[in-house]
């Protein structure tokens, strides 16, 4: 009797394990399927153009010419700019919330930064078109004389263009970077700070110790923000001006990989055109994948020592 109970228990256990595990496997399958499907749908363009696709600058679907270099440029340029603008602010917020803020202020501030992430991309885009772009245009018209010599600040004052897109991207990336950096800072053992104070460190010097201790995780947080910026679509599509060209000018309308897919996918009239767009999607997928894997690894390596080892082995033993 007891033996039968144990046996049926084992069968139950197997059913449970396979039943829930199947859903987990499904998730893995979806990720792999995305890669395969994108590769399959872009065969035509990969075969026809090869590397040439990424090395030429002419994007003329009517003439059947597809060169995607300007999109790579626009995506990287806008994301790097957004990163330069957002990283100091995001880190400042993370430091303030985890190290400096009084306890009663911590939760409201966390909620507000989360709100920044909760506002949909399309709303940022709408706001960008009607509020940010006119402001940027005004700045462009009144560019101070000493700035005009710099190639970054040349070009017609259109308002829409790289500058507007980078600004909105920076705002959208801040909450991601800051919340992860905050978590990482919290994982720094309190003893690190106390040791610094004990040696006579000022508040900033103690924070600097914590930052140094958390450096891999913080780099991971910044990279994760970078990944977000690369794939961001709607707000950028609405603000960047959608003109495939490679230029350093912040005023010039440019184009990103995500934006060209969003704008032209439904207009793609022939298979080659569609395949070319999917290939851009494929590369975007690959780039964000690599960046995410690296940044997750960095963040995980940071959090690992914080987890008590005994709890882990207990879980493993139970699972076995």
């Amino acid at each position: 009797m007891a033996a039968r109970g144990a046996k049926s228990g084992r069968i139950d256990e197997t059913i449970f394990r396979v039943g829930t595990g199947a859903f987990g496997v499904l998730l893995i399958v979806i990720v792999i399927a995305i890669g395969i499907e994108l590769l399959r749908q872009s065969q035509l363009s990969i075969k026809q153009f090869g590397w040439h696709f990424w090395l030429t600058d002419t994007w003329d679907p009517v003439a059947g010419e597809f060169g995607a270099r300007p999109f790579i440029w626009g995506t990287l340029y806008s994301s790097v700019l957004a990163l330069l603008l957002s990283t100091p602010i995001a880190l400042g917020i993370a430091i303030y919330i985890s190290e400096l803020s009084p306890d009663w202020l911590r939760r409201p501030l966390m909620f507000l930064t989360e709100l920044l992430a909760a506002v949909p991309s399309i709303v940022y885009g709408l706001w960008g078109i009607f509020v940010l772009v006119p402001l940027v245009r005004q700045f462009e018209v009144n560019t101070p004389e000493w700035l005009r010599g710099v190639p970054l600040f040349t070009g017609p004052p259109l308002g829409v263009g790289m500058l507007s897109a980078a600004l909105i991207l920076a705002v959208m990336v801040i909450p991601f970077t800051s919340s992860i950096a905050r978590e990482v800072l919290r994982a720094v053992p309190q003893a690190q700070r106390e040791a610094a104070y004990a040696l006579g460190a000022t508040r900033w010097e103690a924070i600097r110790m914590a930052l140094f201790y958390a450096r891999t995780g913080i780099i991971g947080a910044v990279m994760l923000g970078f990944g977000r910026a690369l794939g961001e679509t709607m707000a950028v599509t609405m603000l960047i001006g959608n003109n495939p060209q490679i230029t350093w000018s912040l005023y010039a309308p440019q184009y990103t990989m995500a934006a060209v897919i969003a704008n032209e996918f439904t207009e793609a009239t022939n298979d080659l055109y569609l395949n070319a767009l999917v290939e851009i999607g494929l590369v975007l997928f690959a780039i964000t994948l690599v960046i995410n894997v690296i940044s997750r690894t960095l963040i995980w390596s940071m959090n690992r020592p914080a987890r008590p080892k005994t709890a882990r082995t207990a879980v493993v033993r139970e699972a076995a």
Binding site: D12, E13, I15, F16, T20, G21, F23, G24, V25, L26, L27, I28, I30, V31, I34, E37, L38, R40, I89, A90, G92, I95, I97, E114, L115, A118, V119, P120, S121, I122, V123, G125, L126, W127, I129, F130, V131, V171, I174, T202, W204, L224, L230, G231, T233, M234, M238, A258, I261, A262, F265, T266, V278, G281, F285, T288, N292, R296, R312, A319
Partner: protein, 282 residues
């Protein structure tokens, strides 16, 4: 003397951190202010009950888009909740196994895939084979985005449930599946629902994956196999069009959208706070 400099630097940096916080709150306030100000002046009952007006005619609303958004988001949730919750249970129960790590890793990866790429993928698997855009395809795209969010919260919350609860059930002779579904999951349920709510809030604002899956529809439609209008795609269409009237509609739509999203996050926050209180009390 040197100490004074060090102290001064410390104060200066503290000041910079405060400035960073304020600097980030400026755009937030700015955006919310404009959405509310512009939205309220364009929002009326007709917005919820009328169909979109043709160009040149004033008035009209987004009744079809609101229903469409609810439908597409609902379809996405139907698809994502079972996968997310069950996958999360697996990842939490068999936390040490290699497969669980792979599942967790895939979830984080999927979470980082740009939404537009998911749109392209769904176009390939759910639009091309059937030769037309559909609400189903839109739901599938949103669902794929929801899965990792639901999975990770489920997993984290299940791990928070005190192991004594599970051990109690096991000691009484319950099988593992029974212990999980009748004791552990119910204990974590409020949290899991919160997670689903947060995922819904994030997904409700998505536009990019719908552009070429659900597409858009000028007419009333609740047929899941047909293209359908959604609030977000409609806002996009209106925002980039050159008509003053459409811009007003776009702002009204944005206000409705932001209200939904904020309401969901706020509800989730209240639920989390309550749960933490319960945990501390017990």
């Amino acid at each position: 003397m040197r100490d004074a400099v060090r102290r001064w630097i410390s104060h200066a940096i503290t000041g910079l951190c405060v400035a960073a916080v304020l600097l980030a709150l400026v755009p937030l306030g700015f955006v919310l202010f404009y959405v509310v100000q512009q939205g309220i002046s364009s929002l009326n009952v007709g917005f919820f009950t009328h169909m979109p007006a043709p160009v040149g005619e004033s008035g009209g609303g987004m009744a079809n888009a609101i229903v469409g958004s609810l439908m597409v988001t609902g379809l996405g949730a139907l698809f994502a909740i079972p996968i997310g919750v069950m996958g999360g249970i697996y990842a939490a129960e068999y936390a040490g196994t290699r497969l669980a790590s792979a599942v967790r890793f895939s979830a984080d990866t999927l979470n980082g895939v740009p939404s537009i790429v998911i749109g392209v993928f769904v176009y390939g698997v759910a639009v091309l084979p059937f030769r037309h855009f559909s609400a189903f395809a839109g739901g599938l795209a949103l669902g794929i985005m929801m899965i990792p969010l639901i999975m990770r919260t489920t997993e984290e919350l299940l791990l928070l449930v005190p192991s004594t609860l599970r051990e109690g059930a096991l000691a009484l002779g319950a099988t593992r599946g029974r212990a999980v579904f009748t004791v552990v999951v119910p204990a974590a349920l409020p949290g899991i629902i919160t997670g689903i709510l947060l995922a819904l809030a994030r997904i409700a604002g998505e536009t990019a994956p719908l552009l070429f899956t659900a597409l858009n529809n000028r007419f009333w439609s609740t047929n899941p196999t047909q293209p359908i209008s959604t609030l977000t795609v409609q806002i996009f269409t209106y925002a980039v069009a050159p008509y003053e009237d459409w811009h007003r509609q776009a702002w009204a739509g944005a206000l409705v959208l932001v209200s939904i999203v904020l309401l969901c996050s706020l509800l989730a926050r209240v639920a989390t706070a309550r749960m933490e209180k319960l945990q501390r009390g017990s």
